[in-house]
């Protein structure tokens, strides 16, 4: 079967690929574009490890056909840092011991970015809701929630400074 064209933006750079009809977006990101930050956990939409942003909204790249991303603007965890400067969320995760084995971290960071882009001053319940589709088996979630709240505070103070 003929391959299909896929032209989309990933972390601000336009990408063009030919993909199979059944290719998953996560596999194109990892295997064709070499962006292995996005993880494949359950492959069923349960664990959230493959969370990316499509046109700014969180989405599960393991349940998205690659062709569905045609013309869309995709952000992966690789798009968070600016050059050598980590995003406030990444710094807060590192400082707050919010990552242990690290497998869920990419999805957690992207899910948290989706929240903070929309709501710069979330309360704890909003943070819990934002990561409610992301499973972590190491941390017990508390350090992650605290790190997201800390990052939100950092971003707000950076903005007002």
């Amino acid at each position: 079967m003929a391959k299909l064209p896929l032209i989309f933006t990933v972390n601000g750079t336009e990408q063009a690929e030919f993909v199979d009809g059944d290719a998953l977006l996560v596999d194109v990101l990892r295997d064709k574009l070499g962006m292995t930050g996005t993880r494949v956990g359950c492959g069923q939409g349960t664990c959230g490890a493959c969370t990316i942003l499509i046109d700014g909204a969180p989405a599960l790249s393991c349940l998205t056909l690659a062709v569905s991303a045609n013309g869309k603007d995709v952000t992966t965890v690789e798009g968070l840092a600016m050059g050598g400067t980590l995003h406030a969320l990444q710094t807060a995760f590192a400082d707050g011991f919010a990552t242990q084995c690290g497998f869920c971290t990419s999805g957690m960071l992207v899910a948290a970015k989706a929240l903070l882009d929309r709501n710069p001053d979330p309360d704890r319940d909003a943070v819990v809701d934002a990561i409610s589709g992301n499973i972590c088996r190491c941390t017990g979630y508390e350090p992650i929630i605290n790190a997201i709240l800390a990052a939100a505070a950092d971003l707000r103070s950076a903005k007002s400074a």
């Binding site: 079967m1 299909l4 199979d20 009809g21 059944d22 998953l24 492959g43 069923q44 939409g45 959230g48 969370t51 499509i54 909204a57 969180p58 989405a59 599960l60 393991c62 349940l63 998205t64 056909l65 062709v67 569905s68 899910a111 989706a114 929240l115 319940d125 819990v128 809701d129 934002a130 990561i131 409610s132 589709g133 992301n134």
Partner: protein, 270 residues
């Protein structure tokens, strides 16, 4: 595995692409369909994409119409659908909500399909389109008869509920969101101090969302007092056929249903 991807110019054309092909499916959010493909469902050979067909619109008014490709996130973002916000918010995490659609939810099996449970309580009808005709069918009939090949769900339509008449609660083991142990939606319009036109629906108490007709009968014409709530709770499990799954056993679902129904009816906080 080869998968053919096709786009249609109209819903009617998409319907005709599906009509003659057993291997063809209409793709909405993908949270069920792509998962089935990944899990090894090789019967899916062609996917008709739903984007660009205008199925993602919401029309408010005395009659509310929600397009089948409207996502849970769109429902959450629509102030005019405030009574449905707790329902949309109870489904998946934010990523699932920005993908999962109202139309797709009608095809969910237990323990999923909580939005369809709410629509069943609201008395919704399902508007579908075939190659050359549009039809409207009661959601209850749609759920019991199953979807018809060659027809695409365009929208769901229902009368806007009176302020405060709609109630919903979902019981999960994982908090704040998870698959249902069970869910309950109720439309309890009150006229002259008495319940008039009660509709109650369950999720995960049968393979598909179901109406609790014995509960409706127990509530009809009552002032929704303690005696009525007790009678409804006593009739709660009538007609249910829950399944054993990782969320709960069928036994457990039947055992806790009257408790949660009682709490919903008495207006107790979740």
């Amino acid at each position: 595995m080869a998968l053919d991807i096709v786009r249609a110019d109209s819903v009617g054309q998409a319907a005709s692409m599906l009509a003659g092909d057993d291997g063809a499916r209409f793709l909405a959010g993908g949270t069920f369909l792509v998962r089935a493909m990944t899990a090894g469902d090789v019967s899916i050979r062609k996917v008709v994409l739903s984007d660009g067909l205008g199925l993602d619109r919401i029309a408010l008014g005395d009659t509310i119409e929600i397009g089948s490709a409207v996502t849970m996130a769109q429902v959450q973002a629509e102030p005019g659908l405030g009574f449905l916000h707790p329902v949309a918010e109870s489904i998946g995490g934010p990523a699932v909500r920005s993908m999962a659609t109202v139309g797709g939810n009608l095809f969910a099996r237990s323990p999923y399909g909580d939005f369809a449970v709410a629509l069943l309580a609201l008395g919704a009808s399902v508007v579908s389109e075939g190659a050359d005709s549009e039809a409207s069918q009661d959601l209850e009939a749609f759920l019991s008869e199953g979807p018809k090949r060659g027809r695409i769900v365009r929208a769901v339509r229902f009368a806007a509920p009176a302020e405060g008449a709609f109630r919903y609660r979902k019981i999960t083991r994982k908090h704040p969101h998870g698959a249902s142990v069970l869910s309950i939606a109720a439309l309890l319009p009150v006229s002259g101090g008495k319940v008039s036109g009660a509709r109650v629906a369950y999720g995960a108490m049968a393979p598909r969302p179901m109406r609790a007709k014995a509960v409706e009968a127990a509530l009809e014409g009552t002032p929704l007092d303690a005696a009525a709530i007790a009678a409804a709770a006593a009739a709660a499990a009538e007609g249910t056929a829950p399944e054993d799954d990782p969320q709960a056993s069928a036994w457990y679902r039947r055992a806790v249903l009257p408790v949660h129904l009682g709490r919903l009816l008495s207006g107790e906080e979740s």
